[in-house]
Each structure stands twice: as C-alpha cells, then as structure tokens.
C-alpha cells in the first residue's frame, strides 16, 4: 500500500471513530439512573454533597460539553473511576487485558491450525468423502452455540473425565512473576515448566470452545479460495510443466488461497473478542469479557463504556490491518 493510500485510509478512520465514540457516549448518557446515586448508594451524603460530586464529575454540564469532555478524556485513556473497584477504570481494564489477549490468540492459532488444512484438503479432494465430511463438520461448527458447547465440554472433559480444570487460568499454588500478564509466556520466562503446563491445561478448553467456530469459518473460506486458485491458468501451466501435485497445491495454489483466509482471520478476531464475553463467563476466565458482563449486572457503567469503546476501536483497527494485509499479499489490488 503506498503512503498516500494509507494516509487516506487512516483519515477515513476519523469519522468512524468519532461516530463510535458518540454511540458509546449516548449509550451511557441515556442510561436511566444517576451515576452519583449509584456510586453513593444509600450512604448518608447530603444533597449538597451529591450536587458537589455531580459538578465534580461534570454531570451538570450540557450534553455536548459532556461529550467533548468524554472524548478528550478517552483520548488520554481516562475513563473515570470504577464504581465497584474504587480505582481508575483504565487500571481495572488494563489488568484484565492480558488474559483476554492470551485466550484470543490461542483460539485464533487453533482455528488457523485446524481450519486451513481442513479447507485445503477439502478443496483438493473436492466432492469426495473427505470434502463431504468436512462440509458437515464446518456446518456443525458454525451452527453450534459456543456457550452450550463450553458447558458440555466442562461436563465431559473436566467433571467426568477429569482431564482439565473446571475454571480459572492457573492453580492457586503457582506463583508467576508478572512480565506480560500472559501466563504461557510468563511461566516460560520464569523457567517454570510445571506452571506452564498447568496454565496450558487451563487454557485448553476455553480456547477450543472459542476457536472451533472460527476454525469452521476459516475452513470454508480456505476451501472456496483454494478451489478458485486451483482453477487459475498458472496452475494449469504448472501441471503442464509436470510439477508434482503436492508442490502445485502447497507452493502455488495455497499462497494465493491464503489471502482471503488471512483477511477473514484478521477481521474475525473482532468477533472472537465478542465471543470472549460468553466463553469467559462459562469458564470463569478472568479477562475483559467477564469484567464487562459483571459490570453490566452491578451497573458499573464507566467500565462498560470504556470496554465497549476499547472493543470497537480494536475491531476497527483490526479491519484496517486486514485491509493492509490484503493489499500487501495481493499486489493486484490497489486501495
């Protein structure tokens, strides 16, 4: 992508990000109930104290000024104080992010590891028994409600077979010094293989639950891109040159077939972030998704507001990354 196209694409982000912030702001501004009352609860604060607090939080200002203040603060990563934790929202959220990133990355790696080979094989053996089987499996994968699959997985693999822990990220006995917050990395850095394995066992079921639906989607995308690539002239040419089938499939066709797969994978990481809320709730995974769900039920609106904004901005940026990847991998497309 040339610098001018990139700059244009970045400029296009501005109205989108502005619109997203406006929606997130109005979501919370329209919420019934006064945040000050929620924060103070039934405490004995006098009306004057409540008014002072309201003024302090800028709640007495007109809507547009409150929005500008919200925008200004948001740009600086300032989202106020969590009602429940009595600490800055940014700190509470920052603590939870590594767990969510770890789970999302693991799920995406698993989805690529399963989905791409499945799609390639199904395309190569098009309309054969493997293709049919893969079609059924991917249809099941995209039709399965993730939270239900997670509950069944806990029942079968954790409770009945005892193979995996029921919830959490690591046992209480393991102490891991904080480096990245991602336990798989931190345990290795600290040189604790036992703790690493324990973290891996905790991660296995939630990552599988989250990753399987994505694997099904990626398999479908890879399959159709691969079928398309195998029809191209350069494949016919390679066959005419007498190259081996394996070489043609892996070296020539796959390289091009992967372009849509990589793009979809980047975009769908945003969907994984949404799926996190469900999977983290089912598996008691202490990430951002579970924090948001808890915050909704305790009416902890600053957390909800900041997290929804964070998710949306991440999603928009992932889309940008997908676009850039697409042009880099496919020089014929000029944005």
């Amino acid at each position: 992508m040339n610098p001018i196209a990139l700059a244009e694409r970045l400029l296009q982000l501005i109205p989108v990000l502005f619109g997203i912030s406006a929606i997130v702001f109005s979501m919370m501004a329209l919420t019934p109930g006064d945040p000050v009352d929620v924060m103070l609860g039934d405490s004995l604060a006098t009306p004057a104290q409540r008014a002072a607090m309201r003024q302090d939080m800028g709640l007495d200002l007109p809507m547009h000024e409150r929005f500008l203040r919200f925008l200004g603060n948001a740009v600086q990563g300032e989202f106020g104080t969590s009602f429940h934790h009595r600490r800055p929202v940014a700190d509470v959220i920052a603590e939870r992010i590594p767990a969510t990133i770890e789970l999302t990355l693991a799920a995406m790696l698993l989805a690529l590891a399963i989905g791409v080979p499945l799609g390639v094989l199904a395309a190569v053996r098009r309309d054969g028994w493997f293709d049919r089987l893969a079609t059924v499996a991917t249809l099941l994968g995209v039709s399965m409600p993730g939270f239900w699959f997670g509950i069944l997985a806990i029942l079968i693999f954790s409770v009945t077979l005892g193979l995996f822990p029921v919830a959490g990220r690591i046992g209480y006995s393991s102490e891991v010094p904080f480096v990245t917050g991602m336990l798989l990395v931190d345990t290795l850095v600290a040189g604790k293989p036992k703790a690493f394995l324990e973290a891996l066992r905790h991660l296995a079921l939630p990552a599988t639950t989250l990753g399987l639906a994505m694997a099904a989607l990626l398999a479908r995308v890879t399959r159709s891109a691969m079928i398309d690539a195998l029809r191209q002239d350069y494949i016919v040419f390679a066959e005419a040159k007498g190259l081996s089938r394996a070489r043609i499939v892996l070296r020539h066709a796959l390289k091009n077939a992967l372009i849509p797969t990589v793009t979809v994978a980047a975009i769908e990481t945003g969907t994984l972030l949404g799926g996190n809320m469900i999977v983290e709730t089912v598996f008691g995974w202490p990430g951002l998704g579970r924090l948001v769900v808890e915050a909704i039920f305790t009416r902890n609106y600053p957390i909800v507001q900041a997290a929804v904004l964070l998710y949306a901005v991440t999603y928009v940026l992932l889309n940008l990354v997908a676009d850039i990847l697409y042009t880099m991998l496919n020089p014929r497309v000029r944005l």
Partner: protein, 294 residues
C-alpha cells in the same frame, strides 16, 4: 451473460426453485424449519404442560427413558419442576419470533436505504455509508450487550437492539447490487421510458435482487437466533419465568452434574434449528445464485 441469467426474472426464479427442489438436504432442512415454525405458532395448544408453572415434587425429574422418569414428562423437568418439553416448545416461539421479526424489519429498512443510497448516490449515499461504517465498527455481540445493558432486558428491547445493528447487513448487499444494476440496460431503458424513480427502484431493480436478499435474510436469521440465545444466556434477553432456549441453558448450568438434560436439550434445539436454517440457506444460495457457488 448466460442465456439463463438474461431470461425474465420469473423464469430465473422458477429455475432456482427447480434446482432447490432437487437438493434433498436443503428440502429436508426446510421441512425441519417448517416443523419448528408450526411448533412456534401452535405452542400453547401443543405443549402438554404450562411452561412457567412448576411442580416442586418433580424437581430435576429425569426424562421418560431414564430411571425415575414418567411418560407425561417425556424430556424431564428443570430445577423448579417445570416440564422441559413444554418450555422447549414455548422457547421455539421466542427464538423464531425474534429471528423472523428482526430479519423482516432489518431487511425492509436495509433494502430501502440500500436501494436509495445505491441509486441516488451523492450526499445521501455518503451519509448512509458513514452510518453503516460506524455500526460495522462494533462487534455484534458487544454492541447488543452494551445497548441491552442500557435499555434493560425484554422481548421488545431485544428486537429493537438487534434491528438497530442488523439492517446494515442487507443494506450493504442491496447498495452494492443497486450500484451494479444502475448501469445495466434494463434500468437505462426504464429511465429512457421516463419511469419514476420509485417505479425503477421497486419494480425494476428490487425484483432482480430479491433472490440475493432472500439468501442473505435466511443466513442472517441463523446468526440472530444464536445471538438472542447468547443474550438470554447472559441474562440480558428474555426474562424469567418466560422460556427461552438461552436462559434454559443458563438455568441448567449449576445442575449439570446431576441433571444434564436441563442444559443439554435446549442446546440441541438451537443446534437443530440453526443447522437446518444454515443448510437451507446454503441450498438456496446454490440454487438462486449459481455464480456465488465455490
């Protein structure tokens, strides 16, 4: 353009129907979806028991084929002694009515705005496209969860929240199709004949993109049923004591060890309906839009 595609819209649609009828998996799936629809429509007359009245003596009673089950409660009872079969049947009503209502409203709104944006272009197109971009900027479930948290749970709110986000999908498809149709001969001809914009939009362009719209609508309905179940599972959807598949799964979670049927059966119901819709939708896409077939 092939001879088939150049034929009159009725014939192309008929050809699609013919191809669809030959697809056994798709026809079977349509039959299953129709079966669910009948259950949903006739729920109060079909369900053997009251879905909200429990009998605590039957708390977590197993299905009829297990020890301790009885034929009058074929799929057993939940933690409040309510008949699971009856709750599943009434849950079908919730899932299908939300799915149909959201898809119908979103398709109507999205198609109208997409037609206008694609045909008129200019400022209106820019405005609609910006709104679409912003709404696409939110991951689906996060948008729904955020807005449901603000508006409060309930059937009408779920439909409203999902429509606010969902119309974007048909709108994008219709806009793109309209942009292409705008340059085609039949639209040019209608314009030359002095037809009104409304006539061109609804009598010329819309019938030509109807089959695409139908495929998108069925495919999205499957997604919406899962999203509704997810919201209800989190407690942000349909409120108790009303039966929804998602909340039934959530209710059964804590009894999973002693009474697997409480959570497992509603999940199977979701899987069956969503799978049937997906297969039917894929069959329709193959039949009506052979160009889209991989």
């Amino acid at each position: 353009m092939s001879a088939l595609a150049a034929a009159a819209p009725e014939t192309r649609f008929a050809a699609g129907l013919h191809a669809l009828r030959a697809n056994r998996a798709a026809m079977l799936s349509l039959l299953i979806v129709a079966g669910f629809a009948v259950l949903a429509l006739l729920a109060p007359w079909i369900a053997p028991h009251d879905p909200t009245e429990g009998d605590l003596l039957r708390r977590l009673q197993p299905p009829a084929w297990m020890e301790g089950g009885e034929a009058a409660y074929p799929l057993g009872c939940d933690a409040l002694g309510r008949d699971i079969l009856s709750r599943l049947i009434h849950g079908t009503r919730v899932s299908m009515s939300i799915g149909v209502a959201v898809v119908l409203a979103a398709t109507a709104i999205g198609a109208l705005l997409g037609l206008l944006a694609g045909y008129l272009r200019g400022g209106f197109d820019v405005a609609i496209s910006r709104v679409v971009d912003v709404l696409l900027g939110f991951p689906y479930l996060i948008f729904a969860i955020g807005l449901m948290a603000v508006m409060g749970p309930g059937l009408a709110n779920i439909v409203l929240v999902l429509v606010i986000k969902e119309w974007v999908m048909p709108c994008r498809v219709v806009r793109a199709e309209t942009l292409a149709a705008r340059e085609m001969d039949y639209v040019e001809a209608a314009r030359a004949l002095g037809e009104t914009t409304a006539h061109i939009l609804f009598r010329e362009i819309l019938p030509n993109i109807l089959s695409t719209l139908l495929v998108v609508a069925t495919f999205r309905m499957a997604a919406i049923i899962i999203i509704e179940a997810s919201l209800s599972f989190l407690g942000l959807g349909v409120q108790p004591p009303a039966a929804s598949w998602g909340s039934m799964i959530a209710d059964g979670r804590q009894f999973m060890l002693d009474a697997w049927w409480v959570s497992t059966l509603p999940g199977l119901a979701i899987l069956a309906l969503v799978l049937a819709i997906n297969i039917a939708s894929q069959g329709m896409r193959d039949a009506f839009d052979p160009g889209l077939r991989a």
